[in-house]
Symmetry: none
Subunit: 224 residues, 2 copies
DNA sequence: ACAATGCTTCGGCTACCATCGAAGCATGAA
DNA sequence: TTCATGCTTCGATGGTAGCCGAAGCATTGT
């Protein structure tokens, strides 16, 4: 029974955390639900078997997201019923907005700006994306050389791909990983466009004022 | 949490029984769920507290109905999610196997045999079913007259349809309702093929040995 | 190669809750 | 009144499922 899946508090917390459409790792969901990873793993297996969530493997992580909008819709309906009896569930609020804006994912740019950047590259045919695989076009190579002084030979690596789609933590969409993603992030730092936050362990990336401008000039969308 | 309320099999059965919009008494709901009145009372109190059902006192009875269409909608949504993963409710049902085998649904035959009967009628083109609507064919009329001495004029009723699909709660498939369903059940009783259980309030229908044979001869499937 | 991280599986423990018997109220009938 | 019916509350029991510690894979980094 599907309702029984949603009925458990721990699972309900996980699902609620996924309601914004973003995908979260198993560990993050465990933390959201306030349970250990083992227990979370068991819950997630059940949710997956019940067709409520879908996993996406990415490196050592397993990202989970709601299967589709139908699931989200039913969950909203349940929340609506719960709300009118005054038994609303208290949701842990969204986290650091700076973290959502721009942060380090391993060694490349993630967050709103990271997703925006890949969007821009894709829409201008500088890269071609097919599911998880991303390929740099010749126009893309010219673009990188011209604006960021990045040459293709800097990007070769024995085991790591040049481009790769990486599921973004805060947005529920992909940003650019791989050696190119790392090289671009490194260049942003060298150009003093951005720098990792001084706080130890923080993943926040702070953009300078000029950095923000330059970044927007290169990758900005019309809405900015 | 609302979902936890729906998650319990017994409560889910009650709610399913109320999905047609009609109000049922606490005892009837207990029978639908295959549990004792005490247990049902506890469940109904929880459902009421959760705002899923509303009681209406009437004499010694307490009628329960779904609070409103929103509740029904959410329940349908949950059923939809359950259906598409094939995770239909399996382990539920009345404890009494006799109740699953054959029972009275209002005034017609339900349970395994009821579903089997409609299956047989449909497969032999004695009736034609389109979703909830069922139509008696001319072959069907001949069949009824020949084997059960039921003539079409016995079935006319100002407001009630001759045939109707009624969702069987233990089988999750349709059985035959309407005036025809009632007439056939009545004929089974008159022919001493079957009789309602003597226990007051029981919905179990007991088939006699000869009745079981005759029924199988008319509506039996290959598996028997 | 080795270590570290993320996640899963396994085994046991525990707590919760559905369940039922028995008794207690309420309503309606004789 | 007295009895019968319908439903609820109380108390005790048992099965189930959530939970975590420890260990086992899988992937990645050094």
């Amino acid at each position: 029974m599907v309702a029984a899946l949603v009925g458990d508090p721990a699972r309900a917390n996980m699902l609620t955390a996924l309601m914004n459409g973003r995908a979260l790792t198993a560990s993050e969901l465990a933390q959201e639900a306030g349970i250990t990873p083992q227990t979370a793993s068991s819950h997630l297996a059940k949710l997956e078997a019940g067709g409520l969530v879908e996993p996406e493997k990415q490196g050592r992580h397993r990202y989970y997201r709601l299967t589709d909008d139908d699931v989200a819709g039913v969950l909203e309906g349940l929340a609506g019923l719960a709300a009118r009896t005054g038994h609303m569930r208290v949701r842990t609020g969204p986290k650091d907005p700076a973290l959502r804006r721009a942060r380090i994912c391993y060694d490349h740019l993630a967050g709103d700006l990271g997703v925006q950047m890949l969007d821009s590259l894709r829409s201008r045919n500088l890269v071609k994306q097919k599911k998880q695989e991303i390929e740099l076009t010749t126009e893309g190579e010219r673009f990188l050389a011209k604006h960021l002084q990045i040459s293709p030979d800097m990007l070769s690596h024995p085991r790591r791909p040049v481009c790769k789609a990486c599921l973004d933590w805060s947005e529920r969409r992909h940003h650019l990983a791989g050696t190119l993603g790392a090289a671009m992030m490194q260049r942003f730092a060298e150009l003093k466009w951005a720098a990792r936050d001084a706080t130890p362990g923080s993943r926040v990336v702070n953009f300078t004022r000029t950095g923000e401008k330059q970044f927007a000039a290169l990758f900005g969308n019309s809405k900015d």
